[in-house]
Structures are given as structure tokens and as C-alpha cells.
């Protein structure tokens, strides 16, 4: 079976090279057919890997290293991509999948351009497949075959993490086709509204899963690591945040290209960068050059190959850009106070924010080159990334009403007064009667300002409330995404500033109190699972008349010889009551269990906001505008 997959992957390599050649020669139909065939063949190769995992075929080296017969079925399947080789196979199949989807759905009436885009996508797939087959092959046999495998890293045996890599890769690798479109557009010297209409759809198709993938990864870290936090500014998290920020900037810039023919060169540059940052992310995660709590399957040598790939792609694309960008058209004229001006400001801020993240992520490497071992943590990002982004969010509700070309600024004084009033009210309320820090009050005001400002803009565009649901889908998409950011800001600010945490060391029958909840340790018992055994604590939590039980546990996976923390979360409605079980401690001759207990207010609002952004991107992707083409004017 696995040999069949191996053969299929080689076939896919040949086909994607053929896709590259026919595409670049301008044969749209042929390149499209080959793209679909290459995807089909690669799907077969991928299924053969999954099959080896499902049947626990221990003659395959990858299965031996990452699977175990006692593992639940869902993790056997997820184990196929829970490692370096399998995840690279996922990378390949997504690259080819985007090529095949593009072959089927691209619709620009420019056959040569489409053929070239498919061709470049084919070459990107060739590179990925060559890397898969020659540097990280998942198809290798092992002889003699052992009777049992080593098991998947227990931290990865989790539902959120089973679907997190496919989502994240759909996002990362989705940008490969945005890259291909930009390169093809640059070759032609045409980055115009037809190009932008096409590229916008594919940017959304990458942005939506990337957003959801980041949310899943963060949620996993929240409940699996047992540290109570949801974002640690860890290099691996930053590696996914940077393409997201560039992708968000691209979505804003591409609108200008689509509606006004403007920002052409800049949009092309962002389209290229979005994919380059995705590869940079893969390099940072895979190479092990940075310490991370999320990094699995690390290998320095393969990292070097990724770095070479990054330089080749980057050199090619940026060279193309430098050659062609001066020839691109400038678009319609605009004043600084206009929608173009606002979107330009948005772009500058998002890019600068991405650069501060990049600096914070790479600084330990730079310092190490000078012989100092340092790390950069949350305070740095709170001092740079957060205020920079807050700047643009303050302006958002005001400037989104600005017209193209030249905005009428009479109305926005009223807006500014409203916003200032809101902030003043919150800061006064916060510092005064509610006694919360000024920064938190400001953040809360900002979040509400975003939510209501976005909804207000929706109403303004509809003119009468009855027409709200007749507005174009992309207006809804924009509104929901901005409301999502507002909800996220409220959740993030309240969670970060209002979190309670406490450590309790309890003997059986003892009670401790956290955030108004009295927690009683009833017992600690032994539990046995399919491929683990655990100490499970039974806590009764009481707050007034509300009673619930929490059952945090500590699992031990014999196959991997490794323990994991299984937290218990009770959703109170206002936030999560969160308990993690620690080790047994012997204090004054008495056995006590130590617990880390958190109360995380409004954390669900934060995730709801991010999911709403992802959903909004999907909504904008839905092909409604395709049938009715606006007149080219």
C-alpha cells in the first residue's frame, strides 16, 4: 500500500512539473487538467499514508515513530499529519488542491494569465514534493518491523489539535496560490481590477482557515498546557500571526486595486510576502532555531533546506517585483483624507505591527550571534504590538465611512466627539466606582467602540434599516470581521486584566477559595484509558447556590513515557472556572495535591470574536458577485 503511495507521490511530482511547464507556455486547459490529475494522484498518496496509520502498519518507519495500536482511531488518523513528514505531505496536497481548485474556478477571461498562475503553482508544488520525497519521505519502510510503535506525542492527542494542522496549512499554503497569482500578474505587468477580483477570492480562501487554525491552536494551548493563558507570544504562535497580519493588510489593499485600480505594486508585494512569511513560519517551527512550547518534529537540517527554499522563492518574486513594479498603473487620483488614505494607513500599521512581531521573534537569534542568551516575552509585545494596533482600531469606525477619492470630513467631528466621550466615560467609570485599571477601561471602550461603530456603518450604508439585509455580501463580511475584532478586544482586555489565579495545596476534604468559588477536594482516584492511565481529582466547587464538580487529571502515557495535564473547565457564563491538577506533595507528613485554579472572565467572547472573523472571511468568499459583474468603468 505504502509503495503505491510512494509511486503516486513521484507521479504527482512529474505531473506538477508538467503543470509548471504547460502553464508557463500558456496552455490554460491542459495545465488545468494536469493540475486536477496531480491533485488526484497526491490524494491517493496521502490516503496511503493515512491507511498505514489506520491499520498500524509497523513496517512503515513513520508509523513506528508516531503511532501505537492502543491509540484511539481519531488520533491514528490525525497521527498521519502530527509529525514532520506527514505534515509536509499535507503541505503538498494543499498546494496541489489549491491548484486544482483554481483550475476549476478561476474566471478572469485571461487564459494566458490563468495558465501562468497555474504554471507557477505547479512549480511551487514541484518544490514542495521534491522536498517531501528527497528530504522528508513518509513512505520509507523499516526492516525488521517492530511489534509496537512509539505513539504520538501525548500532547497532540487532542481533538482541537487533530484538526488544527489541516486548518493552519490550508491558510499557510493557500497563500501559495495568492503568490502564484501575483507572480503571473507581474509577468504580464497587469495588476488591475480583474486581477484583484480573482486574487481577493483566493486571499479570503486562505485567510479564513488561517484565522480558524490560529484560534484552534490557541485554544489547545489554553486548556492543554494548564497555564491558564491563551497567547504566550511563543515563536510558533508568532509564526502564524505574521502571515495573518500580512494577509489582513492584503485584504484591505486588494480592495483599492479592485475598486480604484490603485495600490497595484503594493498589493502585489503583499501577495508575495504573505506566502514568504508562511514559509518563514514553517522554517521557524521546523528548524528548532527558537525555543517553543509548540514546536514538535524539529530537525535543523531540514530547516536549512526550508531556508534555501525561502531564499529562492523570495529572490525570484522580489526580483520579478523590482523589474515589473515600475510599469504598473497608478489608478485613480486620491486625497489623503479618503478611503484610499485610510486603507493605506491600515496597511502601514498592520505591516509595522508584523515587523515588531518579527523583531521580537528573531531578536533572541540575533543576540545569540553576539554571544548573549536572552529571550523576549510578553512585556515587549505589550509595549510595541498592542499600542501600534490600538492606534488603527481607534480610527476604524471613523474612517470606514470615508468615501473613495476625497472624503467629506464634516461628519467625522461628531464621530470623534462620540468616541472621546465613550472613552472618557469608561475611564472615569473604571478608575472611579468600578475600580479597574485605566488601560483596561480604555481597552473596553475601544472594543465597544469597534462593535457599535461597525454596526452603525452597516446601518449608514443601508440608509433605511429595512435594506440592511439587501446589502452586498462583502459589506456584511467587512462588518462582521470588524465586530469580531471588537469582541476579541473586549474579551482579551477583560481576560488579561481580570484573570484570577491561585495555587491550592489540598489534602482530601480540604477547601480553598478562588474568585468567590470554594473548592473542596473530595478524592483523587486512578482512572485507566485506552493508552494511558491517570490520577483524577474530584473537586466540588460552590459559589452561593451554584454547585458544580471539576475533574482535572494528570495522565501518564506509558508508550511515550510522558505525563500530560488534563484541565477541567466549568463555563460559568461570565467566564471559565479552570483547574489543573499538579503533583502530590508531602507537607508536614500529610499528603496534599496541588492545584492551579484560574478564573478567566469572558474568554469565550475572545474566541467568538476570532471565529466571527474567520466566518466573515468565508462569507466574503461566497461567490455571489461573480454572476453580476460590475461594469468596467
Amino acid at each position: 500500500m505504502i509503495e503505491l503511495g510512494h509511486f503516486a507521490a513521484f507521479l504527482a511530482l512529474g505531473l506538477s512539473l508538467a503543470q509548471g511547464i504547460t502553464g508557463l507556455r500558456g496552455e490554460r486547459r491542459l495545465a488545468g487538467l494536469i493540475a486536477v490529475a496531480a491533485f488526484g494522484v497526491m490524494a491517493l498518496a496521502f490516503l496511503s499514508i493515512v491507511h498505514a496509520f489506520v491499520t498500524s502498519d509497523f513496517s512503515v518507519a513513520l508509523v513506528v515513530n508516531n503511532s501505537h495500536t492502543l491509540k484511539p482511531m481519531v488520533y491514528k488518523i490525525a497521527g498521519a499529519w502530527g509529525n514532520h513528514e506527514g505534515s509536509m505531505a499535507l503541505w503538498c496536497i494543499v498546494t496541489l488542491g489549491f491548484g486544482a481548485a483554481a483550475a476549476a474556478f478561476m474566471n478572469t477571461d485571461r487564459p494566458l494569465f490563468e495558465a501562468r498562475a497555474l504554471g507557477i503553482q505547479g512549480l511551487l508544488a514541484t518544490g514542495a514534493l521534491a522536498y517531501l520525497l528527497f528530504a522528508s519521505s513518509p513512505f520509507l519502510r523499516i526492516d525488521p518491523a517492530p511489534f509496537q510503535g512509539a505513539g504520538l506525542n501525548p500532547l497532540l492527542q487532542d481533538p482541537a489539535l487533530a484538526i488544527h494542522p489541516p486548518m493552519l496549512y490550508l491558510g499557510y499554503v493557500g497563500y501559495s496560490f495568492v503568490f502564484a497569482l501575483a507572480a503571473a500578474g507581474l509577468v504580464e505587468g497587469r495588476i488591475d481590477r480583474v486581477w484583484a477580483r480573482e486574487a481577493r477570492i483566493w486571499s479570503l480562501a486562505a485567510f479564513a482557515p488561517l484565522t480558524i487554525g490560529i484560534a484552534l491552536g490557541s485554544y489547545w494551548a489554553y486548556y492543554e498546557l494548564g497555564w491558564g493563558g491563551w497567547w504566550f507570544w511563543d515563536p510558533v504562535e508568532n509564526a502564524s500571526l505574521m502571515p495573518w497580519l500580512i494577509g489582513a493588510a492584503l485584504l484591505h489593499s486588494i480592495t483599492v486595486t479592485e475598486k480604484r485600480d490603485g495600490f497595484a505594486a503594493w498589493t502585489a508585494l503583499l501577495a508575495v510576502l504573505s506566502f514568504l512569511f508562511s514559509i518563514l513560519g514553517a522554517f521557524l517551527v521546523r528548524s528548532g532555531v527558537l525555543t517553543s512550547v509548540h514546536a514538535f518534529a524539529v530537525d535543523p537540517e531540514r530547516g536549512t533546506l526550508l531556508l534555501i527554499g525561502l531564499l529562492v522563492y523570495g529572490g525570484f518574486a522580489l526580483g520579478l517585483f523590482a523589474w515589473r513594479a515600475p510599469k504598473l498603473e497608478g489608478g485613480k487620483p486620491w486625497m489623503l483624507i479618503s478611503r484610499e488614505g485610510a486603507l493605506m494607513a491600515n496597511n502601514i500599521v498592520l505591516i509595522v505591527a508584523a515587523l515588531t512581531v518579527l523583531l521580537g521573534t528573531l531578536f533572541p537569534l540575533i543576540a545569540e550571534a553576539f554571544g548573549r542568551t536572552i529571550s523576549v516575552g510578553e512585556p515587549y509585545f505589550n509595549l510595541t504590538f498592542v499600542p501600534i494596533l490600538a492606534l488603527i482600531l481607534i480610527l476604524l469606525p471613523i474612517v470606514q465611512a470615508w468615501a473613495w477619492g476625497k472624503a467629506d470630513v464634516k461628519g467625522w467631528l461628531r464621530w470623534a466627539a462620540g468616541g472621546a466621550g465613550l472613552v472618557a466615560l469608561f475611564v472615569l467609570l473604571g478608575v472611579g466606582p468600578m475600580n479597574i485599571p485605566a488601560g483596561a477601561a480604555f481597552g473596553l471602550a475601544l472594543g465597544l467602540w469597534l462593535v457599535f461603530g461597525s454596526l452603525w456603518e452597516l446601518k449608514r450604508r443601508a440608509i433605511t434599516p429595512g435594506r440592511v439585509f439587501k446589502l452586498p455580501r462583502r459589506v456584511w463580511s467587512m462588518t462582521l470581521a470588524h465586530v469580531g475584532i471588537g469582541l476579541f478586544v473586549i474579551g482579551a482586555v477583560v481576560e488579561t486584566t481580570g484573570r484570577y489565579e491561585s495555587t491550592l495545596a489540598l489534602a482530601q476534604g480540604d477547601t480553598g477559595t478562588v474568585a468567590g468559588w470554594a473548592l473542596t477536594l473530595d478524592e483523587v482516584r486512578s482512572i485507566e484509558g485506552p493508552n494511558w492511565y491517570a490520577d483524577g481529582a474530584l473537586l466540588t466547587a460552590r459559589n452561593g447556590s451554584r454547585v458544580t464538580t471539576l475533574e482535572p487529571s494528570k495522565r501518564y502515557y506509558p508508550a511515550a513515557r510522558m505525563p500530560t495535564t488534563e484541565t477541567a473547565i466549568y463555563k460559568t457564563g461570565a467566564g471559565d472556572l479552570y483547574a489543573a491538577l499538579g503533583e502530590q506533595r508531602n507537607v508536614d507528613g500529610q499528603t496534599r495535591w496541588v492545584f492551579r485554579v484560574y478564573f478567566n472572565p469572558l474568554i469565550d467572547l475572545l474566541y467568538a470574536g476570532v471565529v466571527l472573523i474567520g466566518f466573515a472571511a468565508l462569507l466574503g468568499l461566497w461567490p455571489a458577485s461573480r454572476k453580476v459583474r460590475p461594469a468596467e468603468a
Partner: protein, 141 residues
């Protein structure tokens, strides 16, 4: 507005923002880049400013682990291949693979008394993982 003037404004604003971000980043890094100390480095360079966030790392000296605060707070001594030691205090749950005699990296700050209060502890992540800061120690030891 003419294209050239507009471009001038655009670049002006962008340059200002980048400059502001660079200044922010510079000060943020100067204040918040966490230096790493082993007992030996600490003895060489002296104590960092009390309250400033740093990292310390080394091995947990066997037999020094004790609990106070009804069991919620743990205290232990970190050693390396030098005669110096660092006393670390941590309130919370120890990482899964925390053991006496094993490597540990603690993030936190020194008090005026020279005792280190950790905010976070990292131990070996899995059987194959070592915190990067400890690699030179391992090679030397």
C-alpha cells in the same frame, strides 16, 4: 493633490510610524529582553536589578526541594558546574517533568535579598527536549 505630493505624504507618515515603532521596540527590548543566568554567570556578572524579569537555569540540587505556604509554594536550589547556587521560590504547579537532579529554567525576578521568585518554570518538555538555554550546560557537564 498631485501624485508626487501624495507620495511624499505617504512616505512621510510611513517613515514617522516606522520610526516611532523602532523607538518603542528599542526601549521595549532594552527593558524586557530577558537575560539568562546560570549560577556561574550570576557570580561573574553580579545580580541584575531587583524586580527586573530574567531567566535562571541549571539543575535542581537533589535534596533541596521543600514546601512552604501549606504546600502551595516550593523552594529549591539551582546549581551548575560552579560552586555558586541560586535559591528559587515558586508558587504553583511544577511542570510535568520537574524532578530533583533535572534541568530547569525559571522566569521571574530577584528580590533584594538575592532570592529568585519564579513566575514560570520550564522543565524538560518530553524525553527528547531540553530547554535551549541548557544545551551548553549539558555539553559542558
Amino acid at each position: 493633490m498631485r501624485a508626487r505630493t501624495r507620495r511624499l505624504y505617504t512616505f512621510g507618515i510611513a517613515a514617522l510610524l516606522v520610526l516611532a515603532a523602532a523607538i518603542l521596540a528599542f526601549f521595549a527590548l532594552r527593558e524586557n529582553a530577558n537575560l539568562f543566568y546560570t549560577p556561574e554567570i550570576l557570580a561573574e556578572r553580579g545580580m541584575p536589578k531587583p524586580g527586573r524579569e530574567v531567566k535562571v537555569g541549571g539543575w535542581v540540587e537533589p535534596g533541596t526541594l521543600s514546601y512552604t505556604d501549606g504546600g502551595a509554594t516550593m523552594q529549591f536550589t539551582v546549581i551548575d558546574n560552579s560552586p555558586s547556587t541560586i535559591t528559587v521560590k515558586f508558587t504553583g504547579v511544577a511542570p510535568d517533568l520537574f524532578r530533583e537532579g533535572q534541568g530547569v529554567v525559571a522566569t521571574g525576578s530577584f528580590g533584594p535579598d538575592g532570592q529568585f521568585t519564579a513566575r514560570q518554570l520550564l522543565a524538560k518538555h518530553d524525553e527528547n527536549y531540553q530547554p535551549r538555554e541548557l544545551k551548553p550546560l549539558e555539553a559542558g557537564g
